[in-house]
Symmetry: C2
């Protein structure tokens, strides 16, 4: 066995798996493939290949392909949160806060279309089987709920509960993102020049409802 003595120190070895970071590396590689080559190219084997492990290595970190997709979706929620935190620079205006959240949501969707679709799509038929994914989704809801509640208190709106308004708002921004991604609507189709203008106009409708 001549190769035996080629010893790699684990610290030098870029791929120091075996304890620790393979799972994360797989998820990152999966997102990369998803965003650059599309859902069809996102196979377990392609992910393993990209990371440089055997085709069955992922099975030690995910139950099956769906398990991996769920992990990817969960990471998608985290990425969205991170993106939204950037877009709310400690504002105090509650109405503006909500609108910024909504804009951030749609903008994120346009920047990561395949990821957003995966997060809500049929590739993960029953999210209840994936606790991490569920809890990230819940966090997303709560983030919106917080802003909406503050705004409703401030504006003295009582004809509906904050939960209902939150659902309405989330529905709207999510729907808008998906319709744009899917090409069902376009800015040009309604006489606008770009997505930002469209987002702004729809945000106005939402805003009007919160006044």
């Amino acid at each position: 066995m001549p190769k035996k003595n080629i010893k790699k120190s684990p610290s030098q070895n870029k791929k120091a798996y075996h304890h620790g970071n393979l799972r994360e590396a797989l998820v990152d590689a999966a997102i990369d493939i998803l965003e650059n080559e599309g859902l069809k190219a996102l196979s377990l084997r392609a992910v393993a290949r990209r990371v440089g492990v055997s085709q069955t290595a992922p099975y030690h970190h995910f139950k099956d392909k769906e398990g991996m997709l769920a992990a990817v979706a969960a990471k998608g929620f985290m990425m969205m949160e991170a993106a939204q935190n950037i877009s709310i620079p400690g504002e105090e205006n509650t109405a503006e806060n909500i609108l910024a959240l909504g804009r951030g949501y749609v903008t994120f969707g346009l920047k990561h279309p395949a990821l957003l679709q995966l997060m809500f799509g049929p590739e993960i038929p029953d999210p209840k089987n994936h606790p991490e994914l569920m809890s990230e989704g819940q966090k997303s809801f709560n983030r919106i709920l917080e802003g909406v509640t503050a705004r409703m208190d401030e504006a003295g709106i009582t004809y509906v509960t904050p939960s209902i308004v939150t659902i309405s708002a989330w529905s709207m921004v999510h729907g808008l993102a998906i319709l744009l991604i899917g090409g069902k609507i376009t800015p040009e189709g309604v006489g606008l020049n770009n997505e930002e203008e469209l987002i702004e106009q729809v945000a106005n409708v939402l805003h009007k409802g919160l006044t």
Copy 2:
């Protein structure tokens, strides 16, 4: 060739393919599989098997699997239109008309979750490649636009264009359907007993915005 004389009249023969109905039969079978066994089970071969033709027969009617899925999605739009026509029995109240349209949309989504997800999901990465699908989506938009325009005229709303309101409304009902289907929100989660109640409450928010 002994079988030769077993002559089947095309009209009697249930499977009188060879001119005519194979394409439609394939789409129907695909929807059946999609709704009863899920997206994962929806393979070209499974569809062909169910219809009783060879595995490559579908290629004479669809460019590839994506082509077939696009046809399924297009049919989904048609089914939705049919379902909505039922739910609007010649009403004259324009506001109620729109709400009925919205209710119909969400209800359809809950009845056909996998189909709705396919219609907007990443399995058809670029709908522009599928004219039939695009045109059905356009019809869907126009149907909402019609109702919204009438309502806005009636209510004298001018601070936004009907197109923007249509997009907002479509976004909202679509988002709501998808969030419900994906289990991201539940009626119980906001203290309601069933989907209908939730739909009604969200419809109220929408209605308020159109007053």
